[in-house]
Structures are given as structure tokens and as C-alpha cells.
């Protein structure tokens, strides 16, 4: 029996977890659901000993665990699988597993490999051939390897953080079956997810987190998806995302021709060709890791393709909002107004001859903060002081202020609560209504169906336009998995 009691954790000014109690029993799948940012991953990291909570503790079968010690947690039998796999990229998979539970004594890589294969067979995985580093593996393989590494510790508690996010729809069923088998072995399985359908389908017990607090403990039988949704976001009205505008036949704002990009002998972009027209919101649906990030980098000009062209009416006609906002989109140490200057169009506007027009830039910053309702102390405050949602609003504000012809947004609503996402969607729809073009690259089908006219699908570096008939989840799921009959 795993129990975490009175867990509180603060990061800077943000209270990530507030007196959370959580219990999970053996032989059960316990789902931990909540919006992005509710505190689920933080709780997992605390239970797995990677983070030291400010208050509270973790007990396993009545024995208290040393807080903040991942080594103790692993030895006690708690293993966790991260949302994005934390493997050692330049090591081989055998070395990665040797750092797991199989390599505890000595250093016999062959033995580690043998035991790994045995376990993998038992679980129904296939393992890659010997040698070869992780860098070359696909994202699904990495997830499997990380699960295998976790299981090599023979854990009594297995925590999985959004494991199905990177799996293609076809791989889902076998994965959930695997979880059932593990449950049958008497382990404690904790499944962290924001996908309510999954939780209801698979879990025995469900705990709902909202903004760092536990708001409900329930079972699948006693609840429903819509009930859970209401618990997750509270009693406010679910803001409705504006409906998609009709597809205009406006002129082409962005055209991508025959893009090809290789990395480590793998084809990351494969003859990608599509265009986006003025006034439309076009979507690119796909599971993360199929080339979307690289496509965005090529369009932004941060990476050069081996072949092919990206054309727009001018270099500054494209505004890009990258997926990784804290790493790629903003410079957190710099003040908000200087972050605005990152957009090339704004730099051209406020420093046309090399001299920075500070006052004008500060003025624009103030205007944008007000117009997009960004909560900040002022334009000179560092970007780091903004919350995640406000950072995203800043990026959208910057993109729109640059007056581009086309906005390219990658997973733009990740990490936002529903109200924030609705704001962003509204801004994009307004932009399209005034003649702008939007390219929405996302793995969130709800978002795509709500906003987009044309939908493309991207899989293994290839992009294909879908028919209106493809516009339903199961069919689109198959296409995203690469089944392009």
C-alpha cells in the first residue's frame, strides 16, 4: 500500500501541491487525472524520491521513505516512467538498462541484455538489435525501453506519466493490456493522465487534482467523463472554443515545397509539401516526434533543410510560436519588452537602422499586456516572473503584433488551462478572420477539429492532406499512425 500524506510543494511563488493525500493499493490501477499544470508530475516526482517536498511524506507498507532520495525509493520498490523518456541518448540500450535494475552487481552487458530480452518477451515487447545508441531509436521504442528499465527494478509500485501521449492509437490497446497484466501481478499501478476516456476505461480508482489540491477520490463505476471534466476544471462554464471559419480560397500565404531533412541516417522530413492560404486555419495532426518540431525549425529558419523551400511573401511574413516556450520561445532572464524584440519583424520595426527605439517598444509592450490580459508587473519585469499561461499569451501577443501573414503554432495550448486555451484560440480565429493564415501543428484532436478547416496529417516525416471523410477520431488516428491506405 502506497500512501503519500499532506504533501505540499512550492516553486518560487507558485504552490504546486497543497496538502495532497494520495493512497494506492496493490493489485489496482489508480488513475491520477488533472489538467496540465495541476501538479500530477510534481506528485510523481515526490513519490519517486526525485523531489523533496516542503511538507509531508511518503509511506510504503507502513514504512516511511526518505524524502528526496531517488535511490531509496528505487530500493524500496517505486519506479517511475517519465512523460518524455529520460534515457541516456549516447549510450546503447544495454547500457541504459544496466543502469536500471539488472545491472546492480558487476558489469556484464551481455547478461543485462539477456535478462532484458527475457523480460521483454514476457511482456510482449520486441527489443532492438544489440548495440546502437538511443539517439537512433524512435520515440515509441524509447517509451518501451524506459518502461522496461522501470520494470527491471521489479517494482512494487509503478508510476507512469502520460505514457500514451506518444503512442500511436494502434499501440494503445496492447499497452493498456500490459498494464492489466502488471496489475494482476499484485503491483500498485499509478497512471497519470489527462485523457479522461482512458482513465475511466482502465482505472479501478481515480483521484482528481485541480491546481495542486485533491478535489475527488472516486472509482470508475461511480463517475463519468463529463463528471470528471467538471471536477478537473471546477464549476465554471467550460468556455467554448469558437467554431472553425469556413475554408477561404484566399491567396497562398505560406508554401512549403519538397522539404527533406535527415538526421543520424533517419529521414526526419520526407518531401513535405503543403500550403496555407490567407484567412484559413490549417491543422497538422500528428503524434509528437514525427518531424513536427523539425518542420517548425525549418520554417522558422533555425535549421536548414537538405532540400526544398519554404516561401512566404517575405522573411518576416511568418511568425512562429515554438512548442518549447521556456527553452525556445522566450528568454526568461530578460525583461518582457525585450522578449518582444525577439520577433524579427518587431526588431525591424523598432531598430531599423541599428538604434533601438526603446520608448516606442516599451509603449507597444504596455499596449500588448493590456490587450491580451497578460498579468505582469510591467514591461520591465523579467519574463521569468510570468506564469506559464501568461508566457503563452505573451508569445501569441508577440506573434500577432509582428503583423505577419501567417502564424505557425506548435502545440500552442500545451500547459494551459481551458480558459487560457480558449483565449488563445479566440485570438487565432480573429487573426484568421482579418485575413491572416494560421498553421496549427498539434497532437490534440479536439483542438484541431474545433478550429481547423483543412487538416493535414503528419507521420514519420511525411505530410498528407486529409479528406473531409477522414475527419473523425478513429480514422484520423489511423492516419496519424501511418496507415495511409
Amino acid at each position: 500500500m502506497l500512501s503519500a500524506r499532506n504533501i505540499s510543494m512550492r516553486f518560487g511563488r507558485t504552490l504546486a501541491l497543497d496538502r495532497v493525500d494520495f493512497e494506492a493499493a496493490p493489485g489496482q490501477i489508480h488513475a491520477l487525472v488533472g489538467e496540465n499544470g495541476a501538479g500530477k508530475t510534481t506528485l510523481m516526482n515526490i513519490i519517486a524520491g526525485r523531489l523533496r517536498p516542503d511538507l509531508g511524506g511518503v509511506w510504503l507498507d507502513g514504512a516511511a521513505l526518505r524524502r528526496g532520495s531517488a535511490a531509496r525509493a528505487l530500493r524500496a520498490g517505486i519506479a517511475a516512467v517519465n512523460q518524455s523518456p529520460m534515457l541516456f541518448e549516447r549510450f546503447t540500450w544495454e547500457e541504459n538498462l544496466a543502469l536500471g535494475g539488472f545491472g546492480i552487481a558487476g558489469f556484464d552487458l551481455a547478461a543485462v541484455a539477456a535478462r532484458s530480452r527475457a523480460l521483454a518477451d514476457k511482456l510482449g515487447f520486441t527489443l532492438p538489435a544489440a548495440g546502437g545508441t538511443i539517439e537512433q531509436r524512435s520515440i515509441a521504442e524509447r517509451v518501451r525501453l524506459e518502461v522496461l528499465r522501470a520494470l527491471s527494478f521489479d517494482p512494487r509500485v509503478l508510476i507512469l506519466d502520460e505514457p500514451t501521449g506518444v503512442l500511436a492509437p494502434a499501440e494503445l490497446a496492447p499497452f493498456l493490456e500490459l498494464l492489466s497484466r502488471l496489475r494482476a501481478e499484485g503491483r500498485v499501478i499509478v497512471l497519470i493522465t489527462h485523457k479522461l476516456a482512458e482513465a475511466v476505461a482502465v482505472a479501478d480508482r481515480i483521484t482528481v487534482l485541480r491546481q495542486g489540491r485533491v478535489v475527488a477520490h472516486t472509482t470508475a463505476a461511480e463517475t463519468s467523463e463529463s463528471a470528471l471534466a467538471r471536477l478537473m476544471i471546477g464549476e465554471i462554464d467550460i468556455p467554448r472554443s469558437p467554431s472553425a471559419p469556413a475554408a477561404h480560397a484566399g491567396e497562398t500565404a505560406l508554401s512549403v515545397e519538397d522539404l527533406a531533412l535527415d538526421r543520424d541516417r533517419a529521414r526526419v522530413l520526407d518531401s513535405v509539401r503543403f500550403d496555407v492560404r490567407a484567412g484559413e486555419i490549417a491543422g497538422v495532426a500528428g503524434v509528437d516526434g514525427n518531424g513536427q518540431a523539425e518542420l517548425v525549425e525549418v520554417i522558422a529558419g533555425a535549421r536548414r533543410a537538405r532540400r526544398g523551400r519554404v516561401s512566404a511573401s517575405s522573411a518576416t511574413a511568418i511568425a512562429v510560436i515554438p512548442e518549447n516556450r521556456d527553452l525556445d520561445g522566450l528568454i526568461l532572464d530578460m525583461p518582457i519588452w525585450e522578449n518582444l524584440l525577439l520577433a524579427p519583424a518587431l526588431r525591424d520595426r523598432f531598430a531599423p537602422h541599428g538604434w533601438l527605439r526603446r520608448r516606442a517598444a516599451l509603449e507597444l509592450c504596455r499596449t500588448l499586456l493590456a490587450r491580451f490580459r497578460i498579468r505582469a508587473a510591467g514591461p520591465e519585469a523579467p519574463a521569468a516572473a510570468l506564469s506559464g499561461g501568461n508566457r503563452q499569451r505573451l508569445e501569441v501577443a508577440r506573434a500577432i503584433a509582428a503583423e505577419p501573414r501567417v502564424i505557425v503554432a506548435h502545440n500552442i495550448c500545451r500547459g494551459l488551462d481551458l480558459a487560457g486555451a480558449a483565449d488563445v484560440h479566440r485570438a487565432l480565429v480573429e487573426f484568421a478572420a482579418t485575413g491572416g493564415a494560421v498553421l496549427l501543428i498539434s497532437s490534440d484532436l479536439d483542438e484541431l477539429f474545433a478550429l481547423c478547416g483543412r487538416i493535414f496529417v503528419m507521420s514519420r516525416g511525411r505530410v498528407r492532406e486529409t479528406e473531409p471523410a477522414d475527419r473523425e477520431p478513429a480514422r484520423l488516428g489511423m492516419l496519424m499512425a501511418g496507415n495511409w491506405q
Binding site: 507558485t14 504546486a16 499544470g37 510534481t42 527553452l327 532572464d333
Partner: protein, 358 residues
């Protein structure tokens, strides 16, 4: 801003406290040492003037280091760049006899800038186009510069009699004006201040300066938003080298009038302490350079009257850098919070949830 200055002052104070302990352990008197330092640095008009003279090369190299560090380009080679500038100045200086004085001086300084720019630019190119760690390359170029200097003072530029390992004297027209004899105070300090102002404007009021600072804080984001990383790297290190090179030329033109081995007593490294104390702010560099220049100047007196080696100031420099680094970390903020906090719950949560799961 005030807390930034406060940090620097606190670091200097702490370093002095440690030095006092070290001096005591060495069997000398801390009071005596600090008194000697002060006396040597500011005890008379001549001393004060010489403090400024000693601070001048630190302003040039300090600016060089600041500009590079602002772009996260770790230029440890300001010494070599200064020497390259000095060599260039010492090479054309002797031949400027026929030129009018203002022109000769300007030419000498320009030669210094070009020499330093080349020296720094090479490392910039290596980083931009060959991904060569600039820490290593600038350090290597320090050694190469020292050898080139050794060669020219023993060889091609050797002074007429051939007896001493030093270069020919530069022509009188290339020598800096000395309006305040017998002190060595000269207009170069004005040039240094002007360049500091120029660096400030460049860093904080120009597009290139913004792009450099952005690249320094977050290289990935800079690349994403079409900031020309390669070009900026080369330009920044070339500019950095040019600033140090002008410093070298100033030394030749105003103070030494010729070249000799071991031309730099470590200004390039001392500049790192100067730059950090100044928090990379060009105007702060002026103040920090005067402080360290005072230490350098006073250290001679300290040696005479207290018998402590002048390299004690290097201990101060090293300590100051480490203390400033420590002050800047979140760990220090936590320790300080732990020492001075009253209750754990004093800070109310402002936004629960949100960015923890980013």
C-alpha cells in the same frame, strides 16, 4: 540595480576580511597592509594619478571581457589580444616620425585595434565555423601572442644596439601627450571612458547589442528567431579583441614607448574580476578598474613597507570572483532566506498550480 551594486560591495568587503585573516596568518599586520595599500594608491597626487594610469589598461580589457561575456563568449584571451595590439603599435610606431602628432597617435591606436581584432576574430571564427571552444582557443592564443612578442623583441623589431631584448622606441610623434608631468596621467583615460560609454550604448541601445545579449542568455531561442549567431560571434570576439588591443597600444604609446617580454602582468585575467564586479556594465567597469588599479598600485608600497608580495592582490582578485559567483546563486538566496526568515509561511501563494508541470 542597487542590489547589484550592493552585492559587489559586499563581495569586496568579504574578500578583504578573508585577506586580513590571510595576512595575519602570514605574520604581517592587516591594518598595516591595508594602510600601505591605501597610501600607495591615493596617498599623494602622484600616487592617485598613477592609480588612474594603472586602471586604464584594466578598463580596456575589462570592456573587452564584458562585451564577450555578455554574449556568453568566454574570452580568457584578453592578454593575448592586448599583446597583439601592442605589437602592432610597436611595429608601426617607430616609423611614424614624419607624421603630425595627432595623426601618429591615432594611427598607433588604430593599429592596436586592428591587431587585437584579428587576434580575437580568429577565435570568433573558430567558434562560429568550427565549433571550437573559445575558452581553449583564446587561452592558446595567449601563449602564441607571448611567443610572437618574444620573437619580435629579440628579432625583427629589436632596438638598435641589439643588446637588450626590447623593441625600438616609437617615434616621438606617436607618443601620447603627457600634459601633467611629472605624473604619467594622460588623455588615454578619456578615451577609455568614451569607449565605455560607447560599449554601453552598443549593448543596451542598439539592435546588435540586444541580439548579442539575447544570444548570451538563451542561444536556442536566439537561433530560433533568426539572430545571426555565427556573425555575432565573430564580430563580438573581434570587437572584444579590438578593445583589448587598443589597451595594448595605449600602453606602448603612453607608458612604455617600446615592447618587451612579459608586457602584460595579467591584465587579461584581472579583467575578469573587473568585469564581474562591474556586473558586465560598461560604466561599472570604470569604477571597478579604478578599484583594482588602486590595489595594483598600492601593492608596491605594501611590498616595501610590509614585506608582503604584491601578488597578494591576485589572491584578492580570485576571492572576489568566487564570492560574487556564490552570491549570484539561488543556493545563496536560500541560505540567506534561511538565516533571516522568520516564518515559513510568510510568503502567500500567488498562483497555485500553473507552471510547475511545464
Amino acid at each position: 540595480m542597487l542590489s547589484a551594486i550592493g552585492k559587489s560591495i559586499a563581495a569586496l568587503a568579504l574578500a578583504c576580511a578573508i585577506i586580513a585573516a590571510v595576512v595575519l596568518a602570514l605574520g604581517a599586520s592587516p591594518v598595516g597592509v591595508f594602510a600601505a595599500l591605501w597610501e600607495g594608491a591615493f596617498g599623494s597626487w602622484y600616487a592617485a594619478a598613477d592609480t588612474i594610469v594603472k586602471a586604464t589598461p584594466l578598463i580596456f580589457t575589462g570592456l573587452a571581457v564584458s562585451v564577450a561575456f555578455s554574449g556568453s563568449l568566454w574570452n580568457i584571451g584578453a592578454d593575448g589580444q592586448l599583446i597583439a595590439g601592442a605589437i602592432a603599435a610597436g611595429a608601426i610606431g617607430p616609423y611614424l616620425g614624419g607624421w603630425p602628432r595627432p595623426a601618429a597617435i591615432i594611427l598607433t591606436l588604430c593599429a592596436g585595434a586592428i591587431g587585437g581584432a584579428i587576434w580575437g576574430g580568429i577565435c570568433g571564427w573558430l567558434r562560429a565555423r568550427r565549433d571550437t571552444n573559445e575558452v581553449i582557443s583564446t587561452i592558446m592564443m595567449n601563449f602564441v601572442a607571448a611567443q610572437v612578442l618574444s620573437w619580435v623583441v629579440h628579432g625583427p623589431l629589436i632596438e638598435a644596439s641589439g643588446a637588450y631584448p626590447q623593441s625600438m622606441a616609437i617615434a616621438p610623434s606617436a607618443r601620447m601627450y603627457m600634459p601633467l608631468e611629472p605624473t604619467r596621467l594622460n588623455p588615454a583615460i578619456v578615451l577609455a571612458i568614451v569607449l565605455a560609454a560607447g560599449c554601453y550604448l552598443l549593448l543596451f541601445h542598439s539592435r546588435a547589442g540586444f541580439e548579442l545579449r539575447a544570444m548570451g542568455r538563451n542561444r536556442r531561442a536566439a537561433a530560433f528567431y533568426a539572430i545571426p549567431i555565427a556573425r555575432l560571434t565573430i564580430a563580438a570576439l573581434a570587437l572584444s579583441g579590438a578593445l583589448a588591443g587598443i589597451g595594448g597600444a595605449v600602453q606602448v604609446s603612453a607608458i612604455t614607448h617600446r615592447l618587451y617580454e612579459k608586457f602584460s602582468p595579467g591584465w587579461g585575467f584581472e579583467a575578469i574580476a573587473v568585469a564581474l564586479v562591474a556586473r558586465l556594465n560598461p560604466f561599472g567597469i570604470i569604477a571597478a578598474a579604478i578599484f583594482f588599479g588602486a590595489l595594483d598600485n598600492g601593492s608596491q608600497a605594501m611590498q616595501r613597507t610590509q614585506g608582503v608580495s604584491p601578488v597578494l592582490v591576485q589572491v584578492i582578485q580570485g576571492l572576489v570572483i568566487m564570492i560574487l559567483l556564490a552570491f549570484d546563486t539561488p543556493a545563496w538566496t536560500r541560505i540567506r532566506g534561511g538565516l533571516f526568515a522568520r516564518s515559513r509561511d510568510s510568503a502567500p501563494p500567488i498562483e497555485p498550480g500553473a507552471q510547475a508541470d511545464a
